[in-house]
Symmetry: D2
Subunit: 357 residues, 4 copies
Amino acid sequence: MTTFGESHGAAMGAVVDGCPAGLYLNEEDINQELRRRRPGYSAYTSPRKEEDEVKILSGVFEGRTTGAPLMLLIENRDKDSFSYQSIRGIYRPGHANFTYLMKYGLMDERGGGRASARETVARVAAGAVAKKFLQEQGILCCAFLSQVGEIFFQEQKGVTVEMLQKKIYASAVFCPDEEASQRMMQEIEKAKIEGDSIGACVTCIAQVPAGLGDPVYDKLSARLGFAMLSIPAAKGFEMGRGFQSAGMRGSCYNDGFILNDQGQVSTKTNHAGGVLGGISTGMPLTIRVAFKPASGIRLEQESVNDKKEKVKLRMAPSGRHDPCVAIRAVPVVEAMMALTLADAVLLQRCATLKYPS
Amino acid sequence: MTTFGESHGAAMGAVVDGCPAGLYLNEEDINQELRRRRPGYSAYTSPRKEEDEVKILSGVFEGRTTGAPLMLLIENRDKDSFSYQSIRGIYRPGHANFTYLMKYGLMDERGGGRASARETVARVAAGAVAKKFLQEQGILCCAFLSQVGEIFFQEQKGVTVEMLQKKIYASAVFCPDEEASQRMMQEIEKAKIEGDSIGACVTCIAQVPAGLGDPVYDKLSARLGFAMLSIPAAKGFEMGRGFQSAGMRGSCYNDGFILNDQGQVSTKTNHAGGVLGGISTGMPLTIRVAFKPASGIRLEQESVNDKKEKVKLRMAPSGRHDPCVAIRAVPVVEAMMALTLADAVLLQRCATLKYPS
Amino acid sequence: MTTFGESHGAAMGAVVDGCPAGLYLNEEDINQELRRRRPGYSAYTSPRKEEDEVKILSGVFEGRTTGAPLMLLIENRDKDSFSYQSIRGIYRPGHANFTYLMKYGLMDERGGGRASARETVARVAAGAVAKKFLQEQGILCCAFLSQVGEIFFQEQKGVTVEMLQKKIYASAVFCPDEEASQRMMQEIEKAKIEGDSIGACVTCIAQVPAGLGDPVYDKLSARLGFAMLSIPAAKGFEMGRGFQSAGMRGSCYNDGFILNDQGQVSTKTNHAGGVLGGISTGMPLTIRVAFKPASGIRLEQESVNDKKEKVKLRMAPSGRHDPCVAIRAVPVVEAMMALTLADAVLLQRCATLKYPS
Amino acid sequence: MTTFGESHGAAMGAVVDGCPAGLYLNEEDINQELRRRRPGYSAYTSPRKEEDEVKILSGVFEGRTTGAPLMLLIENRDKDSFSYQSIRGIYRPGHANFTYLMKYGLMDERGGGRASARETVARVAAGAVAKKFLQEQGILCCAFLSQVGEIFFQEQKGVTVEMLQKKIYASAVFCPDEEASQRMMQEIEKAKIEGDSIGACVTCIAQVPAGLGDPVYDKLSARLGFAMLSIPAAKGFEMGRGFQSAGMRGSCYNDGFILNDQGQVSTKTNHAGGVLGGISTGMPLTIRVAFKPASGIRLEQESVNDKKEKVKLRMAPSGRHDPCVAIRAVPVVEAMMALTLADAVLLQRCATLKYPS
């Protein structure tokens, strides 16, 4: 996958190369996912109207993929309404305009340029293709909000992806628990009123067969970490028990092998989060991604400008303030999971001499 | 970098391609780093004698790199003393032999095959080359043990990499604080006596210029996450405040820009861990990696074998039991940091039209 | 560079990643190159009206590249006028619809799908960006038609790229010699009248500094061969004396080093075509690419269809018959040369410890 | 595949990553191919004794590949007997020491460094693995000398790879025709006596299924061209009729589809050399590679040294003069063909939604 586009340019998009031929795919498959980026309650995310619609410009013939690159284009309809003129030349705290200047020698003042969360719409579109491909292989995944500030949600054992999906879609903040959703919304509302933003965690679970991933550099855990940490504002990644593992003993941590009710080899617990030695065990893949609070707050902050003068600034206009960007990150995490898994499924076809049966 | 070799095969090694010509490099530069993998107190790590010595088989002429691929070979001298016969066919809890079988259709019973921690010797060797290259650019990094079980060490603000390095080398467990080292050793000793293992965290800090990394997929944070999560037993990765960010407000999290004492643009705090929008800010890069407790414990565990029979096993022979593998991971984390940064430094040469001055 | 699009889809395009920041670039820079794909005399190429115009959808801000991916989009305006219904299911001789079916299990009957020469418009657009970048480095290249059927044109020694460029643009068949142009046009006209097509060769010359390219797998000659052989209908590639070398003696072939008039090390002859050991010598890079005659002829041919019946077919409709596709390949060869050289120039920045002065 | 090593360093080798698990492989499989690099009559190639023997240092367990990287090591036993001292600092005509200096800022005087033909031993070793894999898929290939100076050998139609292989192995110059072999040997002997070298062409034929290769950039023809042009001294590449195509008419060139005796779709002729639109047709893949005469001749040549003085030199010592390097290139061409095809076979597993049946 290659994406392109800036938040305030003409269009965003992705070129998906390597999608196998013969997959049924239409624009509605993708638009459906894009709509999920726009949760129902305007209070909890940015009120920008992004009625994103994808055009598939290549790679599909008579409703099926041809094996050629898929070009997915999404026009930017609601751009540039805010003038960034007032903060021109100011290094914005927590924002990438300073580091872009250091790297490229110039600043693109309009929105976040490539660093904008808007770039992720292309990932969701590409992820929709990957999800369709995975469905054909019987692989499902879902992401949800598992933490907002100090409010936590812990999924219960034995819950399947299908069960979670319904509940996630029903929640304005993509959290499968109604009570937790309510408390998260209150927390977000509070930050919003105060002109502040708040951090959050997204959890993603996938049901996959054993044997996916590579043993050394391209461990499934490393590929997933790479994919998730490329999402704007992601600051941490863990699999299974993750950082808790550092405080555990091996006798407790090791997931003992058992025979499950179907007589198949499985593990009693899943502290490893579905991966051993970089390869999937067949237990649910479980990852968690930490997102920092968005830099764009309405509160006044101190900074410096490109003339090395001290300045004060308000980074977010009142209208476009998004108190908890991680809500929008939920479908992005799901998309990146799907893209990573689709890759792993295709690579697995090359792991043995004969095709695996 | 490409590595190869299994823990119980004839040799390990790495081919390092893309090292610029003209770097002064000899075998001692690398052996010095390899020796660091063998901390002084046998009580705290595996007693295997691995007096690793590298041979540079190609890529160096008259003491300097030629631009050709470097072949670094390390022979395995102390292999195969333990017979794995007794656990043949048993799926080892927390170990990759089950997932290898699922992926490749066969099991390599001797040690962990490619999944063995032994593979990391090749990374340390390659990392030594990267560190030499980085030194020429004025870039330094160091890793240390920051958590063992419930024992934590938090580095103090304003401490430089040079100051840390001395203290780290003085500690048997690579922890720059004497008191914390003592408590960590006690914790490890306790686990060892009980035939158990214990998890840990490694922190790594690097002093780098602003402008390294890429804004979208190849974010410096994503590249570092990928590198670290490819280390055996790594289960979590975070930058700066990492998972704590999820509980923070933007007004507190955002690192305000200031002018430092040298009149340069800097930030007051470094919650972001030295990266904004995937590109380095010039503040110290700070990452933390969580390692699960090693699977190879002496305590008896329950499992299943390849005939689907329930079995009991002791995974570690009494002699080779390593209660805290994360100690050995410290130089590996440092090596992976160096390799990732060397890549980023070279790529940065291509970021602008003219070479950056 | 990633391209996408089919000849009969909605649009073609390229995503150019890795272009350094700070390059002055506008749509006219690219459109100018696209117009060169449409030579003046309709008699010698396909009469399709392709008034291609590029839109730069991302990667440029205030007239300069930002370092972000460039998205170049070209809409397909003159598509689908011919119904391919009549040849549905027939394996077309010399055409890729049979091999696509073998590979992907389906056929896209509309034009050539990805195999269409139309795909090359995206390469020319991307090449225009590379040419702008190379100009800044003082690197120039030009391609021309050097053979049509039995008519040859051999460039004279000592002619510079600038001198050739003017003459090439003046010729309807991109041949820098007026008399040869006339004879080539007659040859093409003859083939056209007979409903047949004709093969041709394209030569490309570039003035580059010494030191570009890699010594082993990524030899400059190998990269150029790869780039050129990916152009539709290319069947051969050679550097310098190429296949003639096989008939030569070393004493005659070896290009002796001399000091040129500026006192610089140069070679007396250039049989090697500007490359030794995969790296440029500083002498003009000289390559030649052979193109087979286009498969789409008006003459009746015998074939087989997907029901395994013998059939007869006329592959080209009278209106869209292109007797010598290699004319259109001239700017494509030039574009692929520019893209390959731009890559090599950027990679060369990483070859030594310090930036080369 | 990654190779490393210099002709006068300690060892050569290759790391082969991505070889599927389960392939039967032992060192003799590879040594057998390595021996083919040493043809019987010392008169026709360099008399260096290279009794190359490979060690498989990793990736094989109990006689089968494990899916882990294969490390193939070949020690250099007969190095450094010639002192290159006498030609130190001299730019050797037709040799890469000048271009290496331009690229890397230094010269490795011992032999050709990475540019030495010796590097190809690693390719032959890696190719042996690929050939074993291809055998399992029923894919065969063979290479032979088809031209030396003005002496040509043209294979006859309808000859299979098996038939050719026997005859090739029987010839001291890898030419399947006895009479042509004799005349080639005379031609080479003549050049040798005169202290000169001579160019040559190698042809390679492979029997492969339809559907291999990619339609756009990674055309099978482009991949093969890239692989072949990375061989030292290669100056030209063509598929099927190659450069002759430029002189042909479409009505003659197009390979008409027919049903063969087994009722399968095939083509009457094979001017395309087994590839249409970058994808294999199922007809024999046929390529030809042109090699320039070796630069290392005994005749005196004029050149310049690094002090910009005119000098005369004899590049080859009397003992080590190799008049026709292309003989040694025959197994290398075969190896590169096998490696490219093995890649294409694995990639084809990902081309469609379900595994191809």
